[in-house]
């Protein structure tokens, strides 16, 4: 279980997150929706401490961290509980697909090389890249890179995988293959928090949806509820803007 | 021997008289080098037979050897060639009448040309192919497209490297002492030779060179700002 309490974050004088509370249960697939600048990516990055929250408390499983007095050791421990899939993939450019997946296992988890290798190959096969083990990121398409990124995150067996707009940087024809992989692992009961603009995905895969705007959670609920029967005015306006069938005027 | 701070100032004042010589050598080598650079870069880009191979050989040779060897080869070699030609054609010309500074001009221009050729070539390569196509599409000729579209953009891209070349030539001009031209460096030696206060003299020289270098950098930065207005914002 993941619990965020009073998470806030400011960049200079601008407050991007205003005391966010969020609870995610084991096995949940949570999507965070919202306009750009709403703070959703910042929130996600705070969970992995890629952004340092200005205050609040993060709990993953039995590990609890107070953002006011987190030591380097705490941060390191927190990061081991989660894994991140980036919008820009961020595969290690100087390592092959296989090495990218192995890196965390060998260096962070200190697994023996052979074991790590076998596990990494299995994971790459799972995301459909069994034939690209020795390819460098620059030799892979965006969709393939992102699938390696997902395998890299899976390898660490984290309590939660954080997806930061995983398909936003992809060419439209490559979005499908990545969503398919995420869908597949969602069915396996892995806890996930996904920041996305893919409404179809949110509706079909998630079991909880959160709408953010202006640094606060405006409303949350089941995806069907949130997408089709929003309660708040701000949610309605956002959905109207991004759902094409409701808005044909160009 | 103790350090004599007051002599640094004395030396500094005396060195000022040598600044024009250094600047003239730099200016000549940079300007002539620029012309050589543009011509050889175009030969190579357009793969002009023979001339492009000659240009490549020239650039490779000059960039692979120290500037000092160019100067020495010109200083010793050029008179032999000129005197040979002169007696062959009966010109009645003697190489001894060539002023020393001319050797520095010629040799440094040759050096600068090779380095600038590379700078200009990469600047031209950096210009998007679509730019020339667009120029053709509005009916420009090749030379119009080069002059009006490609060169200005290439120049903007190469400006930092051209400025580096200029600084390199400014610093390289200190070699002129080997052909008895009195530039800042040679003057420092002369100033110090009376009282052996070499450190003080060279310190003054260093300060002058430092100042001149910073000046070139500042001017370049200002020029860059003006020239690259079209690049403001966006991804460039």
């Amino acid at each position: 279980m993941i619990q965020l309490r009073h998470i806030s974050k400011s960049f200079g004088r601008q407050q991007v997150l205003k005391s966010i509370d969020l609870t995610v249960n084991q096995g949940d697939v949570v999507v965070i929706l919202g306009p750009s600048g709403s703070g959703k990516t910042t929130l996600l990055r705070c969970i992995n401490y890629l952004e340092k929250p200005s205050g609040g408390e993060i709990a993953i499983g039995d590990f609890r961290l107070n953002c006011g007095r987190a030591t380097k050791k705490d941060i390191h421990a927190l990061r081991q509980k989660s894994a991140m899939v980036f919008q820009q993939y961020n595969l290690f450019r100087h390592k092959t697909a296989l090495e990218n997946v192995m890196e965390g296992l060998v260096i962070v988890k200190k697994q023996p090389k052979e074991e790590a290798k076998a596990r990494s190959i299995a994971l790459l096969e799972k995301v459909g890249l069994g034939s690209k083990l020795d390819a460098y990121p620059s030799q892979l398409s965006g969709g393939q890179q992102q699938r390696v990124g997902i395998a890299r995150a899976l390898a660490l067996e984290p309590e939660v995988i954080l997806f930061d707009e995983p398909t936003s940087a992809l060419d439209p024809e490559l979005v499908g293959e990545v969503l398919e992989v995420i869908r597949k692992i969602a069915k396996e009961g892995i806890t996930m928090i996904v920041v996305t603009h893919e409404m179809g995905f949110a509706r079909d895969v998630a079991n909880h949806a959160v709408f953010m705007d202006g640094g606060v959670i405006v409303e949350e609920g089941s995806p069907a509820e949130l997408l089709y029967h929003p309660r708040e005015e701000r949610t309605k306006q956002f959905l109207k803007r991004i759902t094409p069938e409701l808005n044909y005027s160009i | 021997m103790k350090i004599d701070p007051s002599f640094i100032w004395t030396a500094f004042i005396q060195l000022l008289s040598a600044i024009p010589t250094t600047l003239v050598i730099t200016a000549v080598s940079v300007s002539v080098g620029f012309i050589i650079g543009v011509i050889t870069a175009l030969f190579r880009l357009y793969r002009v037979p023979v001339l492009s191979q000659l240009s490549t050989a020239y650039v490779t040779f000059i960039r692979g050897t120290p500037m000092l060897t160019h100067l020495l080869l010109i200083y010793f070699g050029l008179p032999v060639i000129l005197d040979g030609l002169s007696s062959w054609f009966g010109w009645g010309f003697k190489s001894a009448s060539i002023p020393m500074i001319a050797f520095a001009f010629i040799s440094f221009s040759i050096t600068a040309g090779a380095y600038m050729s590379e700078v200009i070539r990469s600047g031209l390569l950096a210009v998007n192919r679509g730019q020339i196509e667009a120029a053709y599409s509005v009916g420009m000729t090749t030379s119009q497209a080069l002059r009006r579209i490609v060169f200005p953009q290439a120049l903007a891209v190469s400006l930092p490297n051209l400025s580096n070349s200029a600084i390199g030539m400014l610093h390289g001009s200190t070699l002129a002492f080997t052909v008895s031209v009195v530039d800042i460096n040679a003057k420092a030696q002369i100033v110090a030779s009376t009282n052996w206060k070499f450190f003080e003299a060279y310190l003054a020289a260093a300060v002058i060179f430092w100042g001149l270098t910073v000046l070139i950098e500042r001017l370049t930065a200002r020029l860059e700002k003006r020239i690259q207005i079209y690049n403001r914002g966006g991804v460039a």
């Binding site: 991140m84 260096i107 030799q139 | 120290p66 600038m116 070699l175």
Partner: protein
């Protein structure tokens, strides 16, 4: 001026000069090692923004890039003993080679620090984030992820620096070091075949810089093997160059200023 041109002297001078190559390479190697250490020391305060030291680094780099190496040679040759005398160290009897290597080392260090700084900043921020995200510590992320990639960016610039350094060492003769150039001068004066001696000298420099470039190019190719997708195939289909890692070097600006001695 001198004896008439005789090509056989070029060959003779070449083989005589070849025996002096060791001294030149010693200067290059020694200054390079010094330069790498100095370069890191100068680059770190600026990378980590350490106050005061950062300012010192800036001035250091500006001075060594802003003054001619020839002036620096004289400055250190005459000045360093005086300076160290203040610290009760007497090095006035140290061999000239010592001063030469130190000066070239400090000089190279300034350029090296700029290269290090530029290469490290050239590595995408996302790479470090990804390293943190899979649970690496700061030091692990630096040595395993940032450094190898920064190295690949730095090698071409480094290679230019080495060759510039090789050419710069031709000035060591002004302090009386018997290296390639000094030897060529002596040979020329001895035989009065100046042109031949200097031609041979130029040829040796050409051969050495050519070899160094080839070696460093091979190293670069190894380090950059991850940046060359499908080799020739891609090159053929692409007209303009994509802004690849190679393209970034132009923007690095840590390269030695254009013409070098």
């Amino acid at each position: 001026m001198g004896a008439p041109f005789d090509f056989s002297f070029v060959i003779g001078a070449f083989s005589k000069l070849w025996s002096m190559l060791g001294v030149t390479l010693l200067i290059v190697g020694g200054s390079l090692l010094t330069g790498i250490v100095v370069g890191f020391l100068i680059a770190l305060p600026r990378l980590y923004r350490i106050p005061v030291l950062e300012q010192f680094s800036k001035v250091y780099v500006s001075f060594f890039r802003g003054t001619p190496i020839l002036i620096q040679l004289f400055l250190f040759y005459y000045g360093l003993p005086e300076l160290l005398k203040l610290a009760h160290l007497d090095i006035s009897r140290a061999p000239v080679l010592f001063f030469v290597i130190w000066t070239y080392g400090l000089h190279t260090g300034a350029f090296m620090s700029e290269t290090i700084r530029a290469s490290v900043t050239a590595v995408d921020r996302g790479q470090v984030e990804a390293a943190y995200a899979i649970g690496m510590k700061g030091a692990q992320a630096f040595t395993r992820i940032v450094l190898p990639q920064a190295l690949a960016v730095a090698v071409p610039v480094f290679s230019n620096m080495v060759i510039a350094l090789l050419k710069d060492t031709s000035l060591a003769f002004t302090l009386g070091v018997m290296e390639l150039t000094g030897k060529a001068q002596t040979l020329g004066a001895l035989t009065q075949h100046f042109i031949e001696a200097y031609l041979a000298l130029a040829l040796i420099y050409l051969v050495v810089s050519f070899t160094l470039e080839k070696l460093l190019r091979a190293a670069e190719r190894r380090l950059l093997k991850h940046e060359q997708p499908n080799g020739a195939e891609r090159r053929r289909f692409r007209i303009e160059r994509k802004p690849s890692i190679r393209g970034m070097y132009a923007g690095i600006g840590a390269e030695k200023g254009g013409a070098k001695l």
